[in-house]
Symmetry: D2
Subunit: 389 residues, 4 copies
């Protein structure tokens, strides 16, 4: 088994998630042809980097991502920095021939993302995107049911990502509420997971019509550093600043083949904590999923007799995708770490087999095109084609 | 207590529902100032009318709605005929000074509905609409929570009416699949209930953007009479006919005050049986409801402590609207009949107190305007204002 | 169609429920061979009786149950009085040849109930028991699935009746908390519904082992009249009285054929409002039901493929028992009144067809034997046979 | 940070689970005072042991547990062998001064378990038990709510462990169906988790009354090795063998302070996959949990206003126990691995702080006493005291 030296660039919440996944990976997937090694972690100063190396279990640390990216010992660059650094790191890594795993979004806009995508393709490196949620057994099984024809012709799709972490108007004006740093609000953040799942299950989205809205237009200016989600309320200032990105969005879409659907995201939806959910209705059956119960998939088959027709609750287990890697009976359950681990595992397989990652940077770019089309649709109050190419 | 002689015009599924409600009404609501009397029922031929009188408990029967409408003994005309007869009956009843209870939709289009509305207003009679679903305690309590400010500023609304009675492509081409008879498909049928609830809870809808879709474009021509929902498959012909109305629709909307939301309806959504559902997220809390569990309301309050914050499941009982009329503990449950009974009860109160019915024909007309705006939006692929006036 | 003159003895909560059911009955069931007529209502004083006649829609009223019971115009005596009057009224009614519908429990103890049962059998009148809950489509369909062999050999049964109406220690010491008036506590009240369902689905219970417990040992003495559930807290006194019956019970049982199960009831189970629930696991499948969602039945079939095996949620509709009498699509929903109406409807059929009511007074007696065996088991800390005969 | 060299004895399903937990541990808990090192793994032959070392990530392998247990490099012996080996390994490990983490059950009977417990106490080593389920945030938060008095006086407890992995009568007669190898059936296996949770939340169980039952009395003799749950059906023989342990059990119990409750376990409960569930009702509120949705806790407070009183669904997140170690918003979810990791983490803290593990071998022994009391109760058809001491 060959080792893959991983360079983790960034050590926040997602850095921890990735490191957990890497720690689990070879135990979960004994057939994995490559074994990831936590080689080096990078953060902005020595204290953060040192602590990260110790806490997350990396052999080395650094404050200089450029030298790390060009280190010949490094095989895979794992980007979990703030969004504005994705582009320079990814391009530098591609140019030194590193495989790249990048957290979503790929960059701050579709144009930059297209450029990154062109670079990695030219460099011939593998590129995986951090849309981890869809990698779990329940969603993989949804895809499998669709592939088997059990949904039939798709009649409708509705996808949501609702949570309420931003509902407090006293929550400070972190970078996620500023266009200059985040590009957009919930539409470019949570909503992209819903878009990712829609594309995964249905195929490309071709046109959209959307509204977006800023629900809490002003927030206290922060007076100190905050965590990744801007939820640390201590130290918020008395002055208020303007939120110039959306807190909520809703999208009508048409996917390839004329499939119609809706998508919605909201980060002030009180009572919804991590409601990444979808339902797909088809001529032969339906599927429903909600991440808050990530080990369940609801399935309804039109083959059922009339009086026994109804949604059934399937608890994921050995009969479902990746079942052999997890627990011997259904309902013992996996969590978020395993979603990330499956994504990494499949990327390692893609490296060995020289196949495309799924999702890859092309997906990252396409999703940003959709976000931008939706924002344009909101401005122009009409349907907008998603993709120029 | 005064008697109100009711003339029921039509004796299908809704005729039975109304008659059940009338039978229950005075027992349920002993404080009702008027007591309905099932005076006469009308249907298209003697056999149907006689049977209806016997089965539904009316004193008399008739095959001639015109004479019944002008019968001085009749106080209230209750219209449950096919949609195309609503207009002539309602106008005739108004002109002879009868109060009118009309099943939805008010007529085949907004223009006719406006005319009917003008007639009843001119005549000074009371006019109630059969949007019964929203009359139940759970939805009345949702309204009450909003009125108390417990939801706060409305951040988002999503409403659905999903069912699957039309999912079988071998279901015959009944009138509900024909534009000439039904006006539109699911958007003018199920979706109007979702629209009604949105308007009830939020206020007027001002503009919409929608898609509609025919999911099953051809169905077998029927060779005999079918039931109200076209579900009687015996006797369907071998020839196929074209469905020229929508089976599915999705609507982005803006309500008064800038509230944004979505609405969706689908009659081929396998696994959903009577999923008339809504969720409203606001600055102080959220509410969720699903008719399939019509005795529950889910409520989340931002006053709850962070670690105890979550949707709570409220089972309707004596503490909720109409609680004194139903059962002494929560969870004993009411069904659809009670929704209709509450609607009638409130109309009788409106007659006594000379107040407006809620909903009334103005609501019936406004909802049809919204449906037509949505259909126009679909044609023109843009946002459309709902109301001319 | 023949009329059945009904004499309602008692006009509280259950009197209203029965009257609603009678009002609905002939509209719901047009094929009903007998039509109930609300002939006379009896209560303890003229004011109550008069008001009841007016509110509940009876032709006449009386304060003298004995003369009513012997009135030759009366065909069916419907007993909804406090429990201690059941015996004298039922025996008097039997001796004058009236059919009898009696609310549960049949009497204050098994011995009295046996005597009543002997009297009605000797008189040859029909006798129906007010265990209404089990009459709804969902539970009737559970029985049907069992009959079809879809559950197979019964592996386990668990039944519950949990609610929380008695959880407030300041709730007054109404008759339901006093052994002299109520016989027992929750075990003889709510728990008998769970026992009834167990017997209905499994057959006779043969032996039991139980614990019972008084959870709130003292309550304020009431200083005025209270409602049927003793929940009216106004007017409670400052002195405390002793609760000498159980608030909670749990029962291990063995039913005929060696089936094992558990039953539990609790009236102080905070958060449970009307949780009359059961689950039955068998060699071929399982069934789950909860009255709080009385229009749903959950069913799991071992014929399902391994990866599609799971409980499915069936919403009751036209394909299920009594489906033709209710709504044309599933999920429109019925409530408690319809349960009572079905029970009455079947009793009227039993009168016409000269068959036994189901449940009848034999069931009422047998259930009290089981309650007494459970109480004896608690005293003696061992398993006890339920039935002497 | 000091390293703890772990010797894993056994490499089946639980060996994988423990190894995953150890891999995650230091990343999850950066404040962990000791860092586990996967030092050596033992299995019955060279091939299994070598493969385990490679797949599970241990530095060394061995086929000789005795030499491993006495290896001075080993600090912690982690026992995940078949049950009959727990005793000799644990005693040997104690005698060489190793800390011990032992999967449940501690041994084949209470007497042996008591002996083991005496040995580890005498040796002064730390001893942790593998009742991992209760270590998750949801159950820890349930305990916290109880500790804060939010449940008040406990009115009732019901606990379940239902699953259906053994429902197929063609599933082979693995060791779990044989008394000689397993001691008992579901009562000593799944049910002990329910007992563990009951004791954790309520305190000691003092007396019990139970039934047990073998649901599938004969199964095909296996003709080859099967997996840990005996679910590998290939290779089952044509001859049948007798199952001499229980597949189902139900227990009435009295816990300290007079708390009454019920417990039930069943491994043929079709549709239940991993339903480790409990509900606790008290004078101030209630709690409900179900492992199949292991990231949720349902809580009902009697402080809520009457009309807003109902179970609320809490999704575990940063406000709950261990919240700082997992994800920044609720509903991202953890799985089974994290339960095991928390158990290990707390054991490492117990080693550093010289406190007792929770649960420890005393719990393991006490739980077996309860199992044996329940089995004796079944034999003698009466209540039985659980503990001699």
């Amino acid at each position: 088994m060959h080792k893959v030296n991983v360079a983790l660039i960034g050590s926040g919440f997602m850095g921890k998630a990735h490191s957990l996944a890497l720690s689990e990976l070879s135990v979960l997937f004994p057939d994995c042809p490559l074994q990831p090694h936590k080689y080096v972690v990078v953060d902005v100063n020595e204290e953060l980097a040192k602590t990260a190396a110790q806490n997350l279990g990396y052999e080395k640390w650094s404050t200089d991502w450029e030298s790390v990216v060009s280190d010949p010992q490094v095989t895979l660059v794992d980007i979990v920095t703030p969004n504005d650094l994705h582009k320079p790191i990814a391009i530098a890594a591609a140019r030194t021939g590193k495989h790249i795993f990048c957290e979503k979004p790929l960059s701050l806009n579709a144009q930059d993302s297209y450029q990154i995508y062109q670079e990695v393709e030219k460099a011939g490196v593998k590129h995986g995107m951090g849309f981890h949620y869809r990698k779990i057994p329940a969603i993989a099984y949804a895809k499998e049911l669709i592939r088997q024809g059990k949904v039939g012709e798709v009649f409708a799709f509705r996808g949501f990502y609702l949570n309420d972490w931003a509902k407090d108007p006293n929550g400070p004006l972190s970078w996620r509420f500023q266009k200059a740093k985040a590009g957009s609000g919930v539409i470019g953040d949570q909503c992209t997971h819903a878009i990712d799942i829609a594309r995964y299950l249905l195929g490309e989205l071709e046109q959209v019509c959307a509204w977006v809205k800023t629900l809490i237009p002003e927030r206290p200016l922060p007076t100190s550093v905050f965590d990744a989600l801007g939820r640390k309320t201590e130290g918020r200032g008395k002055e208020m600043g303007k939120v110039d990105v959306d807190d909520a969005c809703a999208i009508l879409f048409e996917a390839q083949g004329g499939i119609l659907g809706i998508l919605e995201a909201n980060r002030c939806a009180s009572g919804r904590k991590n409601y990444l959910s979808f339902e797909i209705n088809g001529s032969r059956g339906s599927i429903y999923f909600d991440w808050e119960r990530n080990n369940e998939l609801w399935y309804c088959s039109n083959d059922d007799r009339f009086e026994e027709h109804g949604y059934r609750r399937l608890l994921m287990g050995p009969g479902h995708p990746y079942g052999q890697y997890f627990w011997p009976i259904a309902g013992i359950n996996i969590g978020y770490t395993e979603a990330v681990a499956i994504n990494f595992y499949q990327m390692l397989q893609a490296i060995v087999n020289d196949t495309d990652c799924d999702p890859d940077f092309e997906d990252g770019w396409r999703i940003e095109e959709i976000v931008e089309a939706a924002l344009r649709s909101h401005e122009e109050k009409r349907w907008v084609l998603c993709h120029a190419v």
